[in-house]
């Protein structure tokens, strides 16, 4: 009886696992570098689409095949929607939305300036070439 109780949850899971739909695996919510990796769990080849609006009007197929992840990069600021389905399915199994918001140029050039100061200081220290007394 105890064994049956222990196995009961597994028995319920079996039919679900057999017909599992593809699903995103912890998609990011936000990116400040215009890129990220989208991963998914699927038992068969999938179709991955990308769009920028909620109605998926400008959709394009990003990937179709048996891999379970893809690297996305070089996206400008915006809200990007992704959806996933098995190749032979008619309905979409999962959706994810990622907001791309790049660092501000002020912050970027701030770091650039700090780097330039450190680098020029380094050149100066080495070019002196001799120990300072």
């Amino acid at each position: 009886m105890q064994i049956f109780r222990a196995l009961l949850p597994l028995l319920f899971c079996l039919p679900l696992a057999a017909g599992a739909q593809p699903a995103f695996d912890m998609p990011p919510e936000r990116s400040t570098a215009g890129g990220f990796t989208l991963a998914w769990e699927a038992e068969e080849p999938v179709v991955l689409e990308q769009a920028t609006g909620p109605d998926h009007g400008d959709t394009r197929i990003l990937y179709q095949g048996g891999d379970t992840s893809t690297v996305i990069s070089g996206l400008p600021d915006g809200e990007y929607r992704f959806r996933l389905r098995a190749v032979d399915a008619d309905t979409w199994a999962d959706e994810a939305t990622v907001v791309v918001e790049h660092h501000s140029l002020a912050r970027a050039f701030g770091f650039f300036a700090v780097g330039a100061v450190v680098f020029l200081g380094l050149i100066g220290a080495i070019l002196r070439g001799r120990p300072r007394d």
Binding site: T32, A33, G34, G35, T37, Y63, Q64, G65, G66, D67, T68, S69, T70, V71, S73, G74, L75, P76, H102, H103, S104, L105, R107, A108, F109, F111, F112, V114, G115, A116, V117, V118, F119, G121, L122, I123, A125, I126, R128, G129, R130, P131, R132, D133
Partner: protein, 488 residues
């Protein structure tokens, strides 16, 4: 879109190449190291390496898994600036040229970078430096072992762990057999393979895909990669430069070569090595920009280089990439294994565990440590993707950036500023690493080294200005304790 389902390199060819080059490197290691009798032979190749070999080893060691595989990854993630920024790593080698000359002048009988820090700043700073140096060395070792596994998996579909294990084992064996002499000798051959192979791949990529198609598809699908005002890439530029400088300035890989090169060779060898290295990341990174034009799916960012090359160039390309990256990996893995085992032998084993260890003890300890390092590396690389910082090559590599960049100023001040403050040197590494790591997690991998170097500069300059501690340069040569010079 192409996927990983059908590897371009047949498994039998991949195993054949692996076996052929493994035998070649191990045989060369044995042959080159057959006359090694002392720890000094093993660790510093007799201290008389000439300009051609010295230039080749400087360049080949700096062409790492990171150059051949992370440069394409950064081009894919950060675009044109990512690719060009990576090539600024050449400045690390070029700027180390005058340092190599100064190191040789100050410590003609020196062994490791740890020796210098101990004599210059005392024991506390030395221990902080060892922590920084070993974290970096280990991160680099793991990243290269990972690159080996990724490469073989991407091209031939061989299991990641199997490929990684084979490459690591081969490098451990020939480093064990030949020491630094074998490392430098094989580096020379590997340099020729790397330069010829990289030029061949870039030429074929441009010929087959064309600039116009690459440009048009990037604009359409990944426009930020062509944007010269791409914020993360702008932040990355000096970060990468300072990361490269930090890697080279502190690491015993480069210090051991400064001690091993003949007199007056170090300056020219590092300068030439840097200039030869400069175009390699641009060539290697460029091919990743062809990804949209080719419609290739890239499942993990660090796989993009081999995937694109194999896709564009077919079987021949896959074979060339395989050989080039295997050569690049081997030339760096062996160098790092040798230099790190020297550091552990001199500064941990002899410095902390057996201060009276004889030359023979150290000679044997070096070999045991090479094997232990190989085992630890294998263990960590086995968990690729399962430990957060051991995610992709770039993530792991730039994690160590916070540590190494914080060591830049303690090294430069130690070599050139007579009044550099020892406590300030330790504090600059501790604070630089800490704040660099915070920025790694809070902002991104592309600022960790930059923050570490900036904090290190402020603390080092401030402490030296406020509390100067005069130092007698002659102590560095006088207090060196020769070890391993006698016959074992």
């Amino acid at each position: 879109m192409t996927s990983l389902g059908a590897p371009i390199l047949p498994t039998s060819i991949a195993w054949g190449l692996l076996a052929a080059f493994s035998i070649l490197w191990v045989a060369l290691g044995w042959w080159l190291g057959r006359h090694n009798r002392t720890a000094e032979d093993h660790m510093l190749a007799g201290r008389n390496v000439g300009l051609a070999l010295a230039t080749a080893t400087a360049m080949a060691t700096w062409v790492t898994a990171n150059t051949t595989m992370t440069a394409p990854q950064l081009a894919l993630q950060l675009g044109v600036w990512g690719m060009l920024g990576y090539s600024l790593g050449a400045l690390g080698l070029i700027l180390f040229a005058p340092l190599a000359r100064r190191i040789r002048e100050l410590m003609p009988e020196g062994f490791t970078s740890g020796d210098f820090i101990r004599l210059r700043y005392g024991k506390f700073t030395w221990r902080v430096f060892l922590v920084v140096s070993l974290i970096y060395a280990f991160g680099w070792l793991v990243s290269m072992a990972m690159a080996g596994g990724v490469l073989i998996n991407a091209l031939a579909g061989i299991d990641y762990r199997v490929g990684m294990t084979v490459i690591l084992t081969v490098c451990v064996i020939y480093t064990l057999l030949g020491g630094l002499r074998a490392v430098i000798g094989t580096d020379f051959i590997q340099t020729i393979i790397i330069i010829a192979g990289a030029a061949f791949i870039a030429w074929l990529t441009i010929d087959k895909v064309g600039f116009e198609a690459i440009h048009f598809n990037l604009l359409d699908e990944r426009p930020e990669l062509l944007n010269l005002l791409f914020p993360a890439a702008i932040m990355f530029l000096f970060n990468n430069l300072l990361f490269g400088v930090g890697e080279i300035f502190h690491s015993n890989v480069w210090w051991s070569r400064a001690f091993a090169f003949g007199r007056n060779v170090g300056f020219r060898a590092y300068l030439l090595g840097g200039l030869l290295w400069l175009p390699i990341p641009i060539v290697a990174g460029f091919i990743a920009l062809a990804t949209p034009a080719l419609g290739i799916n890239v499942p993990a960012a660090d796989m993009v280089g081999p995937l694109v090359a194999a896709e564009v160039l077919g079987l021949t390309g896959a074979i060339v990439v395989f050989i080039v990256v295997f050569a690049a990996l081997a030339s760096s893995l062996d160098s790092l294994l040798a230099a790190t085992s020297d550091l552990v032998t001199r500064d941990i084993y002899r410095g902390h565990i057996r201060p009276r260890a004889s030359a023979q003890n150290q000679f044997h300890a070096t070999k045991v440590i090479v094997v232990l390092l190989g085992l630890l590396t294998w263990l960590a690389a086995s968990y690729r993707g399962e430990i957060p910082i051991v995610g992709s090559l770039a993530e792991l590599l730039y994690f160590t950036g916070a540590f190494v960049a914080s060591a830049i100023w303690p090294i430069v001040a130690g070599l050139y500023w007579r009044r550099a403050n020892p406590a300030g040197a330790a504090l600059s590494m501790i604070l630089g690493s800490t704040l660099g790591l915070i920025s790694y997690f809070a902002i991104g991998f592309y600022v960790a080294a930059l923050v570490g170097a900036a904090v290190s500069l402020v603390v080092m300059a401030g402490s030296t200005w406020l509390w100067p501690r005069p130092f007698d340069w002659g102590r560095l040569a006088r207090d060196e304790a020769p070890a391993g010079g006698s016959r074992a």
